[in-house]
Subunit: 105 residues, 2 copies
Amino acid sequence: MKTQLKKGVLEMCVLALLEQHDSYAYEIVSTLADSVEMSEGTIYPLMRRLQNDGLVSTYLVESDAGPPRKYYRLEAKGLETLQAMKSEWSGFLAEVNKIVGANKS
Amino acid sequence: MKTQLKKGVLEMCVLALLEQHDSYAYEIVSTLADSVEMSEGTIYPLMRRLQNDGLVSTYLVESDAGPPRKYYRLEAKGLETLQAMKSEWSGFLAEVNKIVGANKS
DNA sequence: ACAGGTACTTTGCTATGCAAGGTACCTTCT
DNA sequence: AGAAGGTACCTTGCATAGCAAAGTACCTGT
């Protein structure tokens, strides 16, 4: 899958997942990897960014298998950002599809 | 408009325009700028890439206003690439929309 | 003890878009 | 003639974000 297409979109996907329930990086990658193909090298810097921007907060939870998990929770600012991203995304989609004439429902 | 979203997509848009009719860089920017917002600093390196990859060929045409225009014509390989890109794009779309649940018709 | 799964993290690389600057030609207005 | 503004080309340097690869550490099963 083309790397470039994902630029900027993965962030939105991660936020969307966190909107449903708190999660930790490793789980997020496992989930998204099925559909969008992403790797660990991508997620950790991304999560750091989200945290630095105050979109998510974290808390540690002991795991019975492996090291403790760093859970991420979507914060209010993160939800706002997610919604802004969604509307930007669907606007962008519309424009691009107008140009390339891709009208797959 | 978010820069990152365009990564990889602009190339497809340019090829899609060239599928309709030959064009030159300045005109392409003018056209696309309305919907996707792009600048000259983006198009010239991009066109160079397309040419180097053998997706387009060029020919010069004198202009009655300004320097000669470098027209680009979509080649067979470019058309193939465009079609591959389109299918990759709509596949990617589907996956992302499944995740973010953006069902705007 | 070793293999393998879980989970975290960092380093260096790559691709692409963009702002800013530059060149040059033509027309129009002063 | 000179200045301004549109057309059209091009390059340099920067910022961003994804990824492969490597490393650490913990736990379970063989």
